[in-house]
């Protein structure tokens, strides 16, 4: 039993560290696409964190909306920025 608690604590610590590291990387990444992908991964780990906090409804919402939907919206916006940048350089739409 004590070993299980130790394992759970180690998992939680690793999760927290991973969350902070991912957030830092996502914010400081010079490449926008990489930042978006890191944000999606962050959302998924955040859903895991919510499960560890016994908030399963929030975890479901975080995985679907935070990671899935917001990720898709960010990628669509990124694609749009790429197109706009391409158009500004004189390429035909």
């Amino acid at each position: 039993m004590a070993a299980l608690n130790l394992l759970a604590a180690a998992f939680d610590l690793l999760l927290a560290a991973a969350l902070v590291a991912l957030a830092w990387q996502a914010l400081r990444s010079p490449d926008l696409f990489r930042a978006i992908v890191l944000f999606i991964v962050f959302g998924l780990l955040m859903a895991l964190a919510w499960v560890r906090l016994d908030a399963i409804d929030v975890a479901l919402a975080e995985a679907a909306i935070g990671a899935g939907l917001t990720g898709a919206l960010l990628l669509a916006a990124w694609a749009r920025l790429q197109r706009a940048a391409g158009g500004a350089d004189g390429e035909t739409r």
Binding site: R28, I65, L73, A76
Partner: protein, 224 residues
């Protein structure tokens, strides 16, 4: 990492963020030693709420007004996106790569099924309208990305987006007339009313999220 020239400028925000982070951690550690929350009161009133999941009871019954405002805010966000982006129709249909086509054929019906399950199970287990609605929205995005264009479904986008807040408001007003206060469910009918509102909200949220994606996508690189 930060460029040399940036470092002095970043020092103050870094200090403030660390201070805020430490303060937050300390307050969270204090939480359960100071207050037990409203868990006991919610558990006491749960049988009268019409559902057996405390989260759904709080969201749809005890704090139903907040959920009404949330659904309305989603609609407002959609209106905001539509006011900035004129294209409401998705880009023209195009054939998708075979793997994506296959995946979408597998996943889209499955996602609809999962959404229905989450809606139904939300009464007694984790789930509910927002989770189910976002899965529906994801299904919509998947279909859009695969290049499928369903004209009738696209035409139904606007009425579906309005359905959720509209039904919620109608129920609230009807209860105002019948019971004397807004969104005051009679305990005998509460389960049924919650299911009806959640279904409308699920359809609404799914349509809104997919429409938001269409708005962000714009013309998709093609001129219609």
């Amino acid at each position: 990492m930060a460029r040399r020239a940036d470092r002095p400028r970043l020092l103050l925000p870094a200090l403030l963020s660390t201070a805020l982070g430490t303060g937050l951690v300390l307050s969270v550690l204090e939480l359960h030693s100071v207050s037990a929350g409203l868990g006991r009161q919610v558990a006491e009133q749960l049988p009268a709420s019409g559902v057996s999941n405390p989260v759904t009871a709080v969201l749809l019954n005890f704090r139903g007004y907040d959920t009404l405002l949330e659904v309305a805010v989603l609609l407002l966000a959609l209106l905001g996106a539509w006011s900035l982006e004129s294209s409401r129709r998705p880009p023209l249909a195009r054939p998708a790569p075979p793997v994506q086509e296959m995946l979408t054929r597998l996943l889209a019906p499955l996602l609809v099924l999962v959404a229905g399950y989450l809606l139904w199970a939300g009464a007694g287990a984790p789930g509910g309208a927002f989770q189910a609605g976002s899965v529906l929205g994801a299904a919509g995005i998947l279909v859009l990305l695969a290049g499928w264009r369903c004209r009738r479904l696209a035409a139904a986008g606007r009425p579906l987006a309005v359905l959720g807040p509209a039904l919620f408001l109608l129920v609230g007003w009807a209860l105002l007339l019948l019971q004397g206060s807004f969104l005051d469910y009679p305990p005998a009918r509460a389960g049924l009313l919650i299911l009806a509102i959640e279904t409308a909200a699920m359809l609404s949220i799914g349509a809104t999220l997919a429409a938001l994606f269409v708005a962000v996508l714009g013309h998709g690189g093609q001129r219609p």
